[in-house]
């Protein structure tokens, strides 16, 4: 009785899938939005949506006086070396460290990350 999948067909199919997967991986790498390198990329990688965050960050920058990106980045790196962003953000709220962006009330760490995203996008 003839089998449904011959050995040759199976090998060809597997090779085809590998090619498609490879092309897909390469395509996503090529198509993924690229950003000009910034001094804060390690921090900005923590953000879910870097473009959206940059928009929020513009509003944060309008509220925060004397924003110094290097100092802010150093402060955030020091905190992130000790705890996760989630814990830092919740702790900010508990300690009343908040910033506003277009009326949105944000944990300070989240707002400052967004502000760095805005600086990086500028």
């Amino acid at each position: 009785m003839k089998t449904l999948f011959s050995r040759r067909n199976l090998l060809m199919g597997a090779a085809g899938i590998a090619v498609v997967a490879g092309v897909g991986f390469e395509a996503s790498r090529v198509l993924r939005k690229r950003y000009a390198p910034s001094p804060y990329d390690d921090l900005l990688a923590k953000l879910d949506d870097r473009d959206g965050s940059a928009q929020i960050g513009e509003a944060v920058l309008a509220e925060v006086e004397d924003f110094d990106a290097k100092t802010v980045a150093a402060g955030l790196r020091a905190k992130l070396a000790q705890a996760s962003l989630a814990d830092i953000a919740a702790a900010d709220a508990a300690a009343e460290r908040l910033v506003e962006a277009h009326g949105w009330v944000l944990p300070q760490s989240v707002g400052l990350l967004c502000a760095l995203a805005a600086k990086a996008a500028a």
């Binding site: 953000l47 949506d49 989630a86 900010d92 962006a101 949105w104």
Partner: protein, 499 residues
């Protein structure tokens, strides 16, 4: 049973001599009349209107206003039996202990009595308001499994509950005139006059007591009362008008030796769409959005600043309600997604809701009622209202909303957007609670108040005022329940005084 008397049929020149005259058939006046049933006192209840709305009677309320955009003076109250309960929303909640205290951060604050003076009367007031079993404090301790509340981190804002008045047969809420008309008619020591307008408080020549009340009707009848005591139980605007307009013996009016009558007028600002609250899991119990019948009462949850928060942060009172589901713009969606992800929370089912609410205002002597040169159909001067609203009061409300947002973030349950910042934003679409307060404020000091701790007008031995007119400060909850409790307290006092 004694029928109500139509004052338009009382012969001109009639003089009635009851023990007590109650001026105003709203919730305060009706509550006092019922509380004095079957006492030896002969009581007369005077109501300007009849049993239903009448445009000519309602027009007696007309007045002028300047300053911040405010409701028409004829629009936010009702001049027929039941008074403003004919249009109230039934929202009920007692005041807090802190509301009565002198607070360093609030100028002109401090009542001449505390919550303990009203506490014994709240249960009966709740019954008269038909607001169901007294659940306010108990509800705050319901378990999360029984009555889930919005999870908030430790802080100044907490879920608390409004109860709602209901009329028999589930109509909402209780209209005191319609509801208690038959009960009033059964009170043998009470005579109720409808269509009877008090046009003058007649002071004795030395100004020390009220000797006579002049009554007029819109069909031209005039008669008078010579009561042993008088309780002004009308609204805050009418009480000020009557006291100021009765200036034939004392040029500044009755009880106004220190120029306090009519000052400190206030209402609760009700700005719309003050914020947007996001709940990351999208879950919100229905009793936050609308009334629900539970535990034998009609309830709705609100978000209130705690007493501890108000003290520690020197804040005014406010109440926040969650109003309806709404949609976010692109930036809003992005902000929610970014914040939730940063907090390590899934926001794929997040839901957004608009926020409403009301806030307390700081007593302001320049927010006031004065007499106008125009006169109404009965010859009584109309009023002018100079309405004000301080930016600092709105800033307090905003700070409390921000505190709510902080607590949502701390619990990783949600977040908030504050829609108001500049004065113009607050004033756009600003509504008011229709809670007229403060024009005959209570104080132990005659220089700072019109009535004393017993609600007796300073310097006028037999004249009392009851209602939100006597509020020295205003809290943020709807006043009717407390007005009724205060009226019952005054009834007890007068009962002892006149026996």
């Amino acid at each position: 049973m004694s029928a109500f008397i139509d004052a338009r049929t009382v012969p001109d020149g009639t003089v009635l001599e009851p023990d007590l005259a109650i001026v105003g058939g709203g919730p305060a006046g009706i509550s006092i009349a019922l509380a004095l049933a079957n006492t030896p006192l002969r009581v007369v209840l005077l109501e300007s209107g009849g049993m239903s709305f009448d445009p000519a009677t309602q027009a007696l309320y007309n007045g002028n206003k300047t300053g911040v955009k405010y409701l028409g003076l004829e629009a936010s109250r009702m001049r027929f039996l039941g008074g403003s309960t004919n249009i109230w929303g039934g929202w009920s909640r007692p005041m807090d202990k802190i509301d009565f205290e002198e607070r360093a951060w609030m100028p002109h604050s401090g009542w001449p009595f505390g919550l303990e003076a009203l506490a014994p009367h709240y249960a009966r007031a709740q019954t008269l308001c038909e607001a169901g079993p007294w659940l306010y404090e108990k509800a705050e301790h319901w378990s999360q499994s029984e009555m889930p509340t919005v999870p908030l981190g430790t802080g100044g804002v907490a879920t608390r509950w409004f109860q709602f008045s209901k009329m028999r047969g589930s109509l909402l809420p209780t209209h005191f005139g319609e509801r208690y008309a038959d009960d009033l008619k059964k009170v043998r020591n009470l005579t109720t006059y409808l269509h009877a307008n008090v046009t003058r408080l007649g002071l004795a020549p030395n100004g020390g007591k009220i000797e006579k009340l002049d009554i007029a009707t819109l069909n031209g009848r005039h008669f008078s009362l010579k009561p042993k005591a008088v309780i002004l139980a009308a609204g805050a605007v009418e009480i000020a008008r009557l006291m100021l307009a009765s200036n034939d013996v004392m040029p500044q009016g009755v009880g106004n030796a220190n120029d306090v009558v009519g000052r400190y007028f206030a209402d609760h600002p009700i700005p719309r769409d003050i914020g947007t609250v996001i709940l990351f899991d999208g879950k919100l119990e229905p009793y936050y959005l609308t009334t629900q019948t539970m535990h034998g009462a009609i309830l709705r949850a609100g978000l209130f600043p705690s007493e501890a928060y108000r003290r520690s942060k020197a804040m005014l009172d406010s109440s926040i309600t969650i109003e309806s589901k709404t949609l976010l713009d692109v930036l809003g969606k992005s902000t929610v997604a970014t914040t939730a992800a940063a907090l390590g929370v899934d926001a794929s089912k997040a839901a957004a809701f608009t926020l409403g609410g009301g806030c307390e205002v700081t007593p302001d002597p320049d927010c006031r009622i004065t007499l106008d040169s125009e006169r109404d159909a009965l010859g009584v001067p109309r009023v002018k209202l100079a309405m004000k609203l301080a930016d600092s009061d709105l800033a307090h409300f905003r700070a409390t909303l921000k505190e709510l947002g902080r607590q949502l973030l701390a619990s990783r349950a949600g977040m908030i957007r504050l829609n108001m910042k500049e004065r113009g934003q607050w004033l756009t679409g600003l509504d008011w609670g229709n809670h007229h307060m403060g024009t005959a404020r209570a104080s132990i000091d005659p220089k700072k108040g019109v009535v004393d701790a017993n609600l007796q007008v300073h310097g006028v031995a037999n004249l009392f005022v009851v209602g939100s007119a006597v509020y020295p400060t205003y809290g943020a909850v709807n006043p009717t329940l407390s007005i009724v409790a205060m009226a019952l307290r005054l009834a007890d006092h007068v009962k002892g005084l006149l026996k």
